[in-house]
């Protein structure tokens, strides 16, 4: 049983960890074992984050591990978490949606974490929680690039398809094309195929050959190579074709997906004329890597850096400290690099906060994995020619139904130069997802050479009365 939220009232925790994925989980157990009192807040009912998403208990899945890598790394830490909870050193606050972190009014050296509870925040405000340190382990969300037909039913996010599989054990279709870019595609295709779907092709827009051109970062990570080889073997076993420098440039169908057009790309991801091939399928799982989740960090004033794939990640030092004293970060929010690094950074942050234990070895492993992630991000970074896939009537912002043509007009006719002005002039990014879905595309179409990270002072929607009460 999670400790009742009322137990946290009036106490000052040494550490509040936001996010119970690999980074947050590792940080919470390490910090608690080093004697700190920890509050672990997470939106989901169970720890594990997006990566270690599990089927609901009612589904009776016999072997959830079959869909996960490094399942043991997770279960070992989950067991340590249970022990620390039982010992009263970790308050695990599940189904807590953190909407802001601010300096505590009573003591500016402390931090107040503001959250609402229950599914979608329906249970109202949680009591304000105070902590000396806050660790942001808020993870990442999937990057999407629009193309004609991407709003048809049957088109799902690649990470979303895997999450569906992990959480609900359902497939988005029977014959599923997997497309986009990034290392996740291979894992997704492997999971879908292993779960019984036919995957005719995986289309990677990037150039796998580019890996061979950054051999040092790769050679330093034999484990990653083994992992990739494992995916490749799974795909080969299921007869999945792997096409590099190719993209789904259109989806066909009336009520739902019936086929996709797969097109060869040049180095800048421009479609090569005459190379389109129609592939029948009933679902498309598509994604272009992950984007660090920067809320509530940007609201706190934490500095960010550009990542090689054109996004933003938090700046942290050798101990996982952000540029705001007392605020720490670990895992994907510092740059997308996978669960293994997230575990390491979580542990490194906890040791740094506690001021205990050797950190040199952890830091060296961290730096190696970061270098690998940077090389990988560069290989899969969206190239500017992707927008040649668009037609003027292609919806870019699905929430507000804003087409590529309208965004183009705002830029050429009305003086928009960045994502923010496009939003003001077209409403693109003002809807339910607050631009998480269309942000990359809008920024690119705005032609902003040095975009700033989007500011979202409220990390999630919140009922007016819950804001007023909290």
């Amino acid at each position: 049983m999670p400790v009742s939220p009322s137990d946290t009232r009036g106490t000052v925790h040494d550490l509040a960890v936001i996010g119970a994925g690999p980074a947050g989980l590792a940080a919470a157990v390490t910090a608690a074992e080093l004697g700190l009192t920890v509050a672990l807040l997470d939106a989901a009912p169970r720890p594990g984050g997006q990566f270690y998403r599990q089927p609901a208990p009612g589904l009776g899945a016999a072997r959830p591990r079959a869909l996960h890598h490094s399942w043991g790394a997770f279960t070992r830490r989950a067991a340590r978490l249970a022990a620390q909870r039982a010992a009263g050193r970790v308050h695990h606050l599940a189904e807590h949606h953190v909407w802001a972190v601010t300096r505590a009014t009573a003591d500016p050296e402390h931090w107040t974490v503001h959250a609402v509870t229950g599914p979608d925040g329906a249970h109202g405000p949680a009591p304000e929680l105070t902590a000396r340190h806050v660790l942001l382990a808020t993870g990442a969300y999937e990057r999407q690039l629009p193309f004609p037909g991407w709003t048809l039913p049957g088109v799902v996010g690649a990470a979303g398809a895997q999450a569906m599989l992990k959480a609900g054990l359902v497939l988005p279709g029977r014959r599923i094309v997997v497309a986009g870019s990034g290392p996740l595609l291979l894992a997704v295709a492997g999971s879908l195929a292993a779960a019984g779907a036919r995957v005719p092709v995986v289309a990677e827009a990037g150039d796998y050959g580019a890996y061979a051109r950054s051999p040092r970062a790769l050679a330093a990570q034999p484990r990653k190579l083994v992992e990739a080889a494992g995916h490749a073997a799974t795909l080969a076993r299921h007869g999945v074709r792997l096409r590099s420098r190719s993209a789904v440039t259109a989806v066909h169908g009336t009520d739902r997906v019936e086929a996709v057009t797969l097109t060869r790309l040049d180095h800048d991801w421009r479609p090569l004329p005459g190379t389109g091939v129609r592939i029948p399928c009933d679902a498309l799982a598509v994604g272009h890597g992950l984007v660090p989740q920067l809320e509530p960090a940007t609201g706190l004033g934490c500095a960010t850096r550009r990542t090689p794939d054109g996004g933003h990640a938090l700046v942290v030092d050798g101990r996982q400290r952000t540029t705001v004293g007392g605020i720490w970060a670990a895992g994907e929010t510092c740059g997308v690099a996978g669960a293994e690094l997230a575990f390491i950074e979580g542990e490194l942050a906890a040791r740094s906060i506690a001021g205990r234990g050797p950190v040199g070895a952890l830091r060296r492993r961290r730096d190696r994995l970061r270098r690998f992630a940077l090389a990988m991000a560069a290989v899969h970074a969206p190239r500017p020619g992707w927008s040649d896939w668009l037609r003027t009537d292609t919806e870019v912002c699905r929430c507000e139904e804003v087409t590529a043509g309208r965004i183009q007009d705002a830029v050429t006719g009305l003086g928009a130069r960045d994502g923010r002005t496009v939003k003001l002039l077209t409403r693109a990014g003002m809807g339910w997802c607050q631009g998480r879905m269309c942000g990359t595309a809008v920024t690119h179409l705005a032609g902003d050479p040095a975009p700033a990270p989007t500011r979202r002072p409220l990390a999630c929607p919140i009922v007016l009365d819950h804001l007023a009460d909290g």
Partner: protein, 389 residues
Amino acid sequence: MPTRNGHHLDTSDVVIVGAGAVGAACAYYAARSGLSVTVVDRGAVAGGTTGAGEGNLLVSDKEPGPELDLALLSARLWRELAAALPPEIEYETKGGLVVAGDEPGLAALRTLSEAQTAAGVASTCLPADRLRDAEPHLAPGLAGGVLYPQDAQVQPALAAAYLLRASGARLHLGAEVTAVLRGPGGAVRGVRTPRGDLLAPAVVNATGTWAGELAALAGVTVPVLPRRGFVLVTEPLPRVVRRKVYAADYVADVASDSAALQTSAVVEGTPAGPVLIGASRERVGFDRTLSVEVIRRLAARAAALFPVLAGVRVMRAYQGFRPYLPDHLPAIGPDPRAPGLLHACGHEGAGIGLAPATGQLIAAALTATPAPLDAAPFRPDRFVERSPA
């Protein structure tokens, strides 16, 4: 002397620095006066305070005096502009409703509206039992209110963008002004940007909250400072709030000299569906960190005024920095300390509303034609610098 960065980029009759609503209106009226106009901005159109406001065109919140005169002229000009510009600017003559919670508040409100009437403001007093005819979802128990039919609204970023486009001005966006160029006699002759020099015998400072920095480049002081405000934006709703509705204490907050946090309920619907909730005022410099205290108060006050909003989701919050001057009046007109430099800045929270009249005043000054109203109260050099003891 041309320098490496100083090659000549273009020449016009006037360079306007700032592509917000005020800069756009100055460009529009200057161009209509027959001048060739160049507009330069370090960012995009509507990138500063214009893009961070609700787009209010209000007469109701102003006490009789020069600012109200400017607002009344602007209200008339916005009606003309709405006919000339495309409907995308979302001009709505929705009217404002100011409500009072108790009898003393209502009495003060009536006194104000009577004084405003003498200055040309139309209004109707509503007793408590008629408030809900005007706004069906208002909370019960209010003492009464005053309806102001001249209050209107535009979508500020779109209004600025279309106004600028209609002006036909040459646009240099993403070009930061790094110097104000002066001639041998000290007269202003243009501005320098990293892309080149923009030459003109007149330069208009329409840089809003950042106007002090541009003035400093010309060697003069304009004491504009930021006054921060937050706005909450709800999920899209059917039209539950018809007008701009605000509590009577808002008028006092607007005129206040206090640096401390002030919040009053200001609630309005928009054509796109979301309800906008303001208004807070605090002087905290350009601090962009979230103040939970501010948004809590805004949420509580809005829910008290419109109980129907209590269960609605707030999608986002944003903040802006109103450019204020010590006497809460804008600086509009030529600066005698720097011949050729004109200011159109310091409109605090009323820049969208006051933009057209400001543009007309600037155009009149540029063409040496009679001004539509007395510009003396807005003289940019009215803030006498304290002489060293």
